[in-house]
């Protein structure tokens, strides 16, 4: 066998078009062996994906139309699970809370990191320190962050109200008051996660060529105009991508309400995922839980597809 055939990538047409037909079976066998080797390397991953990703995706949708009890075979129940959900007033509360949470989380978690990144990009000292500390909360296990902030929120000796008291303000009751509970959760989630968005924005800001600012300045653009016509257009892709990712992430909020409020007070922090958890693992109604997760999947896929389109376009 010549070295040229060995160097040729598998699947590429043979350069030697006049090869003798007698060699074809050997070539075929080699292709088969190559493919078997490749699938040998792939088989563990295929098995894991099949069992823990592909199969559950399909099963989740099927379950939404079934009743499961672990004793007899699942029963098809049509749209019953969805009807049960729609009749549950908590279902509507959960969506309202989740959307409100997502909206508030975007106000804080989307704009604040961008402004912080713009600010950090201007500073010329202690850059390493800023980058280090802003990311520290991201490293905290969410359970630790939630329990820590629960202590901070304590209306009596808690850190926040103690600080407010020191300046003469009677602080709110944070988690114990249904008008501030959801906002309190947003603040924890923002504090824990804004480090990653900030550093991603910062990396994007650093790729903006200095000449653009210089040119804008020569044209007499002030700071606001430079922000509008240089900074934002130059980082638009990253801004859009993170916006979509944040919507998808915040709509799946679970750990903070589960640990800090349990959904209360007055169901003001029952989120879609918390309700899903209750249906599945408290009431053992996996069918209705699946109906709910299918609905969540449908809503979130809108954002997922938007994300896909944005990133595809950027690649092309």
């Amino acid at each position: 066998m010549s070295s040229s055939t060995l160097l040729r990538p598998a699947g590429a047409p043979a350069p030697d078009a006049t090869r003798r037909p007698g060699r074809a079976p050997g070539r075929l066998r080699r292709r088969i062996v190559e493919n078997l080797t490749a699938y040998g390397f792939l088989c563990a991953a295929l098995l894991c994906f099949a069992l823990f990703s592909w199969y559950p995706i399909v099963r989740g949708v099927l379950l939404a139309f079934q009743q499961v009890n672990f004793i007899t075979d699942p029963v098809w129940v049509g749209w019953d699970n969805f009807e049960l959900l729609f009749a549950d007033p908590l279902f509507w509360d959960a969506w309202r809370n989740t959307l409100l949470f997502t909206g508030l989380a975007l106000v804080f978690g989307f704009f604040v990191p961008f402004l912080i990144a713009v600010l950090l990009n201007e500073l010329r000292h202690a850059k390493g320190y800023f980058r280090l500390v802003v990311y520290l909360p991201v490293m905290l296990p969410p359970v630790v962050a939630a329990l820590l902030w629960k202590w901070f929120y304590d209306p009596g000796p808690g850190l926040f109200n103690s600080l407010l008291r020191a300046v003469g303000i009677d602080g709110p009751h944070w988690l114990d008051d249904s008008s501030t509970s959801l906002l309190s959760l947003v603040l924890v989630a923002t504090w824990s996660n804004l480090g990653s968005a900030t550093l991603i924005y910062l990396a994007a800001l650093q790729t903006i060529p200095g000449e653009l600012y210089e040119a804008a300045e020569l044209d007499g653009a002030n700071v606001v105009q430079r922000m509008r016509h240089v900074t934002i257009p130059q980082t638009r892709f990253v801004l859009l991508v993170l916006l979509l990712l944040q919507v998808v992430a915040t709509m799946q909020i679970f750990t903070e309400p589960y640990i800090m409020t349990g959904g209360g007070p007055d169901d003001s922090t029952v989120t879609v995922l918390l309700l899903l958890y209750r249906y599945a693992f408290v009431y053992n109604d996996f069918g209705t839980a699946s109906a709910l997760s299918t609905l969540l999947l449908l809503v979130l896929s809108v954002f997922s597809f938007a994300y896909l389109r944005v990133t595809r376009k950027a690649e092309a």
Binding site: T37, L42, R124, K127, V223
Partner: protein
């Protein structure tokens, strides 16, 4: 990059009083927002429970009780939960590398029939929010198809799904794609099989990406809460995060805080040690180029 002055949004010099004020304010606000909470926690954990209930709170502990840390360790039996967590995290890390590295290598360099289709099917799972799979995943591990095994209370219920990580495969494949095929072909001509090529040629070159994937997988496994909460119904097998939230309601607050410090320390240490890799993985993941 620090000395070369790149023009940014503000053109003013960095010597003036305005800059100094802006810098000082930022420094103070950042320290208050991101460092003080940690200090408050570490010190709170060294106060006696009575002192923590006081209004207004003391700033420094009136009497220092570093012994709270050892007391918390014994009271909550944290050693056991640390060990459980290490088993879960180390297993998840090892399984992810063992499964995803060969898969990415095959998709990148061996390029089998339907390889691109397989890759597409894997990448599609990145688009699906993981929490919407909780219920079917849970039902799957209670009765594994074909094998009929129940993986509840078995760390494998965390390890194996962790390997179905399309993002790892994407990162690894993208790195392997940059390794020149001629290099691998040369090794093959010397008689090396596909396994040898992977082990002797590809992996030594892939150390940087292996570090990124390793750190991402360890940090994610350590931080995970909802899936371990579902998998380990037996309290004795729970991970640190799951155990801490179970203990939280009826543990003296100072000991709980000490427990939080101990649970956070390994991740803070990992961050300080591998800061560069972690931040590289962060930007590699979200934004390309």
């Amino acid at each position: 990059m620090s000395d070369r002055a790149v023009r940014t949004l503000f053109s003013g010099n960095r010597e003036g009083i305005g800059y100094k004020i802006a810098f000082t304010v930022t420094f103070v606000v950042f320290t208050a927002a991101f460092v003080l909470p940690f200090l408050w926690l570490v010190m709170g954990a060294m106060k006696p429970a009575v002192e923590l209930a006081q209004v207004p709170p003391t700033i420094l502990p009136r009497t220092w009780h570093p012994g709270n840390y050892t007391e918390a360790w014994h009271l909550m039996d944290l050693g056991k939960y640390f060990l459980n967590t290490v088993v879960v995290v180390a297993g998840a890390w090892a399984v992810q590398l063992l499964v995803d590295v060969p898969a990415a290598y095959a998709l990148s360099k061996l390029r089998p029939v339907l390889g691109n289709g397989v890759l597409a099917l894997m990448l599609v799972t990145l688009m699906l929010p993981p929490s919407t799979l909780l219920v079917p995943m849970y039902l799957t591990i209670t009765d594994l198809p074909v094998l009929g095994v129940n993986l509840v209370n078995n760390p494998a219920a965390i390890w194996l799904p962790a390997a179905a990580n399309a993002f790892n495969i994407y990162l690894l494949k993208r790195f392997f794609d940059q390794i020149p095929t001629e290099l691998l072909d040369a090794a093959r001509m010397d008689g090396a099989g596909a396994v040898t090529v992977l082990w002797r040629v590809v992996l030594p070159m892939a150390r940087p990406i292996l570090a990124v994937v390793s750190i991402l997988s360890v940090v994610a496994a350590w931080k995970d809460f909802i899936w371990p909460l579902l998998v380990f119904s037996d309290p004795a097998l729970q991970t640190l995060s799951v155990a801490l939230q179970r203990f939280a309601p009826d543990t003296p607050i100072n000991l709980l805080l000490a427990g939080l410090v101990l649970a956070a320390l390994p991740m803070i240490a990992v961050f300080l040690a591998f800061q560069r890799h972690i931040l590289a993985g962060l930007t590699a993941g979200s934004v390309k180029g």
